[in-house]
Symmetry: C2
Subunit: 297 residues, 2 copies
């Protein structure tokens, strides 16, 4: 996992000065704005051949670049504000390709109330797009990756394992994150960009806890070995994984079953760090859930 | 000039809501922070084969990515605050390559007092780096591209035409921009990333004015046809081009000639829009200075 190794290296190099509250290691960087508000910053880069195909229509490239950043902002319980878009594309693609990318990005920005305020276009041998996004959240509503405590319940929104089909058309869970941040005390949250195994390990590592996830509780479209494997390892679902105390969890579960309820499922629990991150199989035996999945390095 | 065509398209699509003061079309986007401060946002993407070579040492890639953004912030009279770095590189390059890029970026960040608070790493067939940077400036000190007025004098800092040699090692003119913003009323400013011809046309277009630049006044290391051509068209100098009223210009010129003086040269004047953007040759005749130079599309 060279990406994790690199992040460790990078983290060691940084000394944040006030008012930086959180830097590398969460969905967004967090900066205090004084009074009761935090400002959030996040950036995600999508590259041809890695995050989309050579023949992916440009509209969906722009849309995805915007939505993955909205998902990062949502994962901290915040609302997006501004975005800057940098695009690199081959000279051969022409202006209609660039327009397609920006139309897709602007459509998503409009839907989720993001103000696109700048950007940059470049010639590039492969298509690459970077969106940087800011957000804001009331201090009391900020949710990080590092607040999970032993005894908490673990939930995910929606259905997992569909990233392969939906990674260009998914809906970032901004609405759900807002409901969670405003109505419940959520201990920790992360968006599932690289698969449950990778992102649960990230959340556990940042919170210095262990976790147990029950294979039979993982929400999939249709039950099969293959779909469970995809749910755990395949990534690009952009659903939310979150933890809450047993007391809050009872309220959350009530809300799930109610009308206009939250589309979420209980999948496991938070344990002590020494327990590690484990997957409990249908027969009750368990195995280590290694942070395997989509790694860029 | 497809990039300009695209920027026009994109500008037409945007409706800014308060507190966005400036969006696409300047070095940075500008957002009011209330009280007396503007927040600035800018992003620049560098791509292998376009902005650096396949064999450019990674340290200099990271350094350049940071410095071009600092230059954009400086061009508005502001100070940089935070940066987010997104990097894409081949899996084959390994972790030492990524470390080299981040070491270069962090060295520049430290030197110019920028706080790197986040980022993203990805696999990519070619090396690509995007830095997004925020800055801040007192409202009264903000300098845009659009404030040049007929009769203003035009200046550039430093020496032009050296971009080819210095684009990996240049010093962003943050100190000079600070001196200008705090001590003089500067009507308009832009950093010279794409060459004098391109960037002067941008400044003139945003200010709705014309301009005359005197070929014999353009500061070059050693006078030759070739070096003057490079100064006008070659780009990547990252010096500052700025305009000031005749009254302010007298003060600026005094400061240039004084001890610890500003390293800047008077190169021409601002005219009415109908005059167009012109280059006055050594024999007194003049020609249109077309926005030719480094265009990515």
């Amino acid at each position: 996992l060279k990406e994790l190794e690199f992040i460790k290296y990078i983290k060691g190099k940084f000394r944040y000065r006030k008012p930086v509250v959180k830097g590398i290691g969460d969905d967004c960087a967090v900066v205090s704005r004084g009074k009761g508000t935090y400002g959030l910053f996040t950036a995600d880069m999508l590259i041809e051949g890695i995050h989309f195909k050579k023949n992916t229509p440009p509209f969906f490239i722009g849309r995805k670049a915007m939505c993955v950043n909205i998902s990062d902002i949502a994962a901290m319980g915040a609302k997006p504000e501004y975005a800057l878009i940098s695009v690199g594309a081959s000279r051969k693609k022409g202006i209609s390709y660039l327009k397609g990318i920006s139309d897709g990005a602007l459509a998503a920005a409009k839907k989720f109330n993001v103000s696109v305020i700048g950007g940059d276009t470049n010639a590039s041998p492969v298509t690459v797009i970077n969106v940087m996004m800011t957000g804001s959240v009331e201090k009391k509503n900020l949710i990080t990756r590092s607040g999970a405590r032993k005894g908490d319940c673990l939930f995910v929104t929606g259905v997992l394992g569909e990233g392969n089909k939906r990674h260009l058309t998914f809906t970032p869970r901004l609405r759900e994150a807002g409901i969670l941040a405003r109505n419940f005390r959520i201990s920790a949250m992360i968006d599932l960009s690289d698969g449950l195994s990778m992102d649960l390990n990230r959340l556990a590592s940042e919170s210095r806890v262990g976790a147990r996830v029950y294979r039979s509780l993982i929400p999939v479209r249709e039950y099969s070995e293959r779909s469970i494997e995809n749910a755990i390892y395949a990534g690009e679902d952009f659903e939310l994984l979150f933890a809450a105390s047993p007391r809050e969890s009872r309220k959350i579960i009530k809300s799930i079953s109610g009308k206009n309820g939250l589309n979420a499922s209980l999948i496991g629990e938070v344990t002590g760090k020494s327990g590690g991150v484990r997957l409990v199989k249908e027969d009750g035996s368990s195995e280590e859930l290694k942070p395997r999945g989509y790694s860029h390095f």
